[in-house]
């Protein structure tokens, strides 16, 4: 039932001097788990707060279900909102926090009690109902906050960096718990985070935002496998970027000449001959071989740095044209190579992406802030 629709929404602060959200359109489907992903200051939290009614848009329309809510205060939007800082009322115990929504909505006492109990059982904290927020751990507090947001019966759950203040291990546990709850209760959820691993793990779809705009919306796989924007290629997953010019374009393939006359091939995506482009290659698709080997997309270089990361090993390879490539390989697959070893790196034609060279320069386009 609760679909969320944003049409041409704009929000500025400081008398228009700062544009937080810049003409965005977004459609969130019913019962979908959508994540707004982006670096800090990209406008994702502002977008969420506008959906909640905690900020009002300067322009554009926001609707929840079939109701236009653009200028409605939060109490009339029928939403659940989870704050990064929990925002549990410090003067109320867990029980009173969780049943706050039903009580201020004037529901029957039995109904409030039943829902409070159900929600607390759902987050496995019913036995802590008498505790005050200050007596709970961070993870528990966030579970109470979740139960509180859910107990007001809202079908739309908004989560503002809900795991941001938690320890790494608890983060991973809790993120799956949140997804499970959302799916069990058949809710629509919009989740804000700057952590791409978290977004990948829990979302049905992800909207990647940067500087107030949505760059791409898609499933985690789509964003990873077919990024439409050079920023997305870098922010969702990781990428090597090699600058060059298109020297040849066949029906399905494109030949790009990098610095130092190295040629690589990629899939054709409407780039003109002579155009300046950037080839993006994920570190994990690169294979690495000792010595010099020839072949398509094989580049010769030497290992400049080696790092052991636990499950992976990471090499930094200085190519013969002085460009630097990062290669990530599973730590337990194949033998590890030493620094200064001469190697050939290679990648399959269909696993690289070509983007037009950004007008404002590559660094600016990839910058997080």
């Amino acid at each position: 039932m609760p679909e969320v629709e944003l049409k041409n929404v704009v929000k500025t602060f400081d008398k228009g001097r700062i544009t937080a959200v810049d003409h965005i359109d977004l459609h969130v489907r019913d019962r979908e788990y959508l994540t707004l992903l982006g670096p800090s200051g990209c406008g994702k939290t502002t977008t969420l707060r506008m959906i909640a009614g905690l900020e009002l848009p300067d322009e554009g329309e926001i609707s929840i279900g079939d109701k236009l809510v653009s200028n409605l205060p939060p109490e009339y939007r029928d939403i659940g909102y989870v704050f990064q800082e929990y925002a549990l009322f410090p003067h109320m115990d867990v029980w009173n926090n969780v049943t706050y929504g039903p009580r201020v909505k004037g529901w029957q006492e039995e109904k409030s009690d039943r829902i409070g109990r159900e929600m607390l059982e759902m987050v496995r904290l019913f036995e802590r109902a008498d505790a005050f927020p200050s007596e709970l751990s961070g993870g528990m507090r966030q579970r109470v906050a979740l139960a509180r947001a859910l107990s007001s019966g809202a079908k739309l759950l908004l989560l503002d960096e809900p795991l941001g203040a938690l320890d790494a291990k608890i983060r991973t546990d809790l993120r799956y718990e949140i997804r499970r709850l959302v799916k069990d209760l058949r809710l629509t959820a919009i989740h804000v985070t700057h952590d791409q691993a978290e977004a990948m793990a829990i979302s049905d779809r992800i909207a990647v935002m940067r500087k107030g705009k949505i760059l791409q919306v898609g499933t985690p796989q789509e964003l990873y496998l077919t990024p439409q924007h050079i920023f997305v290629a870098n922010f969702v997953g990781e990428s090597n970027f090699l600058e060059g010019y298109v020297v040849d374009r066949a029906e399905s393939k494109l030949t790009v000449e990098l610095r130092g006359g190295i040629s690589v091939m990629s899939l054709n995506k409407d780039h003109k001959k002579g155009e300046k482009v950037v080839v993006a290659i994920r570190p994990e698709v690169l294979s690495i071989h000792k010595g010099k080997k020839s072949g398509v997309n094989s580049i010769f270089g030497s290992i400049e740095a080696f790092r052991f990361e636990g499950n992976n090993v990471r090499y930094e390879i200085r190519l013969q044209n002085e460009d630097l490539l990062v290669v990530v390989r599973p730590a337990l697959m194949g033998e590890w190579m030493d620094v200064r070893e001469k190697v050939t790196v290679a990648f399959p034609v269909e696993k690289s992406f070509v983007f037009s060279y950004p007008e404002r320069g590559l660094r600016t386009e990839l910058a997080l802030e």
Partner: protein, 518 residues
């Protein structure tokens, strides 16, 4: 508890001297005067008893009168504080949470009654409401007679108006500061859970700010109980306890004056301290009060309706309140000065003009100038000495275990009515006591020090507790600064920021007892 816990060697000696000197000065300048009146009453009990209860001529008339005066003072204070709360709480909320045009001006207006001499303000209120030169000009007669009483409660209307004007800023200021320090997160959370702004206020903001509201109310209550300057001007046929103290002193009847003064101190402490102690300790959790009455649901509906439809009305009522208690008196008095500047508006006589009176043969201007200079210099000296005592006191309270006790004791000078305090000082240091000073500027300074110390200490403590000062202190220590350098360069500048305007005004404002002395 961090940096002074274990001072060593030379620092140990220095710190002991510092602590002893601070404690000694607190005792001599603050605590002794606050309690002396009570001990005076006890040590001279037979004399006091004869004067109050068994006077050979008038019997226990004085006792009956004391009950009457005290009753009026208490009714007045309770009434004033109740009205302060009704208007002050929403006002503080609006000032802390809303942005609107003219907000700065509104804040200045609220502070205004703390800044101006109270007797002047009393006079302004008097002519504004009771004479034909004020609002009465519109109707051809005064609006309020000075002897009008609120039916049933027997509180004089004009006196109540003055007391409200002089006390409501305490509630507004304290609550506003507390709200500004508090994040809006809880309000947002409550809104997303479906509560209207008014419900949010009742269930979230009010319980969380109760200590601030209460400490504002305590100050307002104490201020009203001790208010003398403005009350004298508008008293008409009524006498409040502080005025009675002063008139008895001026007739050298120290017995009943000391007894009534002691009663004021005891009553104020008995009402204020226990409640404050409970509230500070436990806070207030959710109330089931309304749901127990089965009106919770109706209340929620009313709050929802009022939040949506009546916020304009609320704003209008609050503006009207400020206009009545503050703006009208000030405007009227300025207006009459302007009208009578060069000649009397009714008779046209130049000799009755403001200019003639000030600079003519009677030369009131120089008298006025002298009085103002005395007020300012005494307030300046008192503030300086008070700050010298208060700053080390803040550190004692923060660092030492007996600090909490010290802090509780420091509430007492705040709630001792100023006229009782003045009498206490007079009896302690004056000609009838230790003979260290004659009535005059030195006694005024000594009086002001007593209540200025806690007034400086409290906001500094509030800054300390609500801030990251301990964190900055630790940073300073890790960078190699010793405890004294740290206090001097980090803690002191950060906490001193809070000794702000209204507090200094409080120090300067009550010249109450000065009147009584002469």
């Amino acid at each position: 508890m961090t940096i002074f816990s274990e001072p060593k060697g030379k620092q140990n000696l220095l710190s002991r001297i510092g602590v002893s000197a601070t404690v000694a000065s607190l005792i001599v300048f603050v605590f002794l005067p606050s309690f002396f009146l009570i001990s005076f009453t006890f040590t001279r009990w037979p004399e006091v008893y004869n004067e109050v209860f068994a006077n050979p001529l008038i019997g226990d008339t004085n006792w009956i009168e004391i009950q009457k005066y005290l009753g009026l003072s208490l009714r007045l204070a309770i009434f004033a504080v109740a009205i302060d709360l009704i208007f002050g709480i929403p006002l503080a909320y609006i000032l802390a949470r809303k942005k609107f045009w003219g907000k700065g001006f509104l804040e200045d207006l609220i502070t205004f009654t703390l800044v101006i001499p109270t007797s002047g303000f009393g006079f302004a209120t008097l002519i504004a409401w009771t004479t034909i030169s004020g609002i009465g000009a519109l109707f051809g007669r005064g609006i309020v007679e000075t002897n009008y009483l609120i039916p049933g409660f027997n509180v004089p209307v004009i006196m109540l108006l003055v007391h409200i004007a002089l006390t409501f800023p305490y509630i507004v200021k304290t609550l506003k500061a507390k709200l500004e320090d508090m994040s809006t997160l809880f309000e947002q959370a409550s809104g997303t859970l479906g509560a209207s702004p008014l419900t949010t206020f009742r269930k979230i903001l009010f319980p969380l700010t109760i200590p601030a509201i209460f400490s504002g109310a305590v100050m307002a209550f104490a201020r009203s109980l001790g208010e003398t300057g403005a009350t004298l001007v508008v008293q008409s046929v009524f006498t409040t306890a502080p005025i009675a103290v002063i008139s008895w002193v001026s007739q050298f009847k120290f017995g009943p004056a000391a007894f009534l003064g002691s009663l004021l101190i005891i009553v104020a402490s008995a009402i204020i301290l226990p409640v404050e102690f409970i509230l500070q300790k436990r806070g207030v959790s959710t109330f089931s009060f309304f749901s127990a009455l089965n009106i919770e649901k109706r209340l929620l509906k009313v709050e929802d309706f009022a939040s949506r439809k009546l916020s304009r009305l609320r704003d209008a009522i609050i503006i009207l309140f400020i206009v009545i208690v503050v703006v009208v008196p000030i405007f009227v008095v300025l207006n009459s000065v302007a009208l009578s500047w060069s000649s009397d508006p009714n008779t046209g006589k130049v000799t009755e003009s403001v200019v003639y009176q000030l600079f003519g043969p009677s030369n009131y201007f120089s008298a006025l100038l002298d009085a103002t200079l005395v007020s300012f210099s005494s307030a300046g000296i008192a503030t300086y000495i008070a700050a010298c005592i208060a700053i080390p006191t803040v550190f004692l309270i923060e660092r030492y275990r007996f600090g909490r006790f010290l802090r509780a004791l420091l509430r007492i000078p705040l709630i001792v009515p100023t006229s009782a305090l003045g009498l206490s000082i007079l009896l302690l240091w004056g000609p009838g006591g230790l003979r260290l000073a004659d009535p005059g500027i030195w006694l005024i300074i000594l009086t002001h020090i007593v209540f200025s110390v806690p007034v400086v200490v409290e906001p500094m403590l509030a800054t300390f507790e609500g801030s990251d000062i301990p964190l900055y202190e630790e940073a300073s220590r890790t960078l190699g600064a010793n405890p004294y350098n740290t206090v001097e360069s980090v803690a002191l500048p950060l906490s001193a920021l809070r000794i702000d305007l209204p507090d200094c005004n409080l120090i300067c404002s009550p010249y109450d007892f000065q009147k009584g002395d002469h």
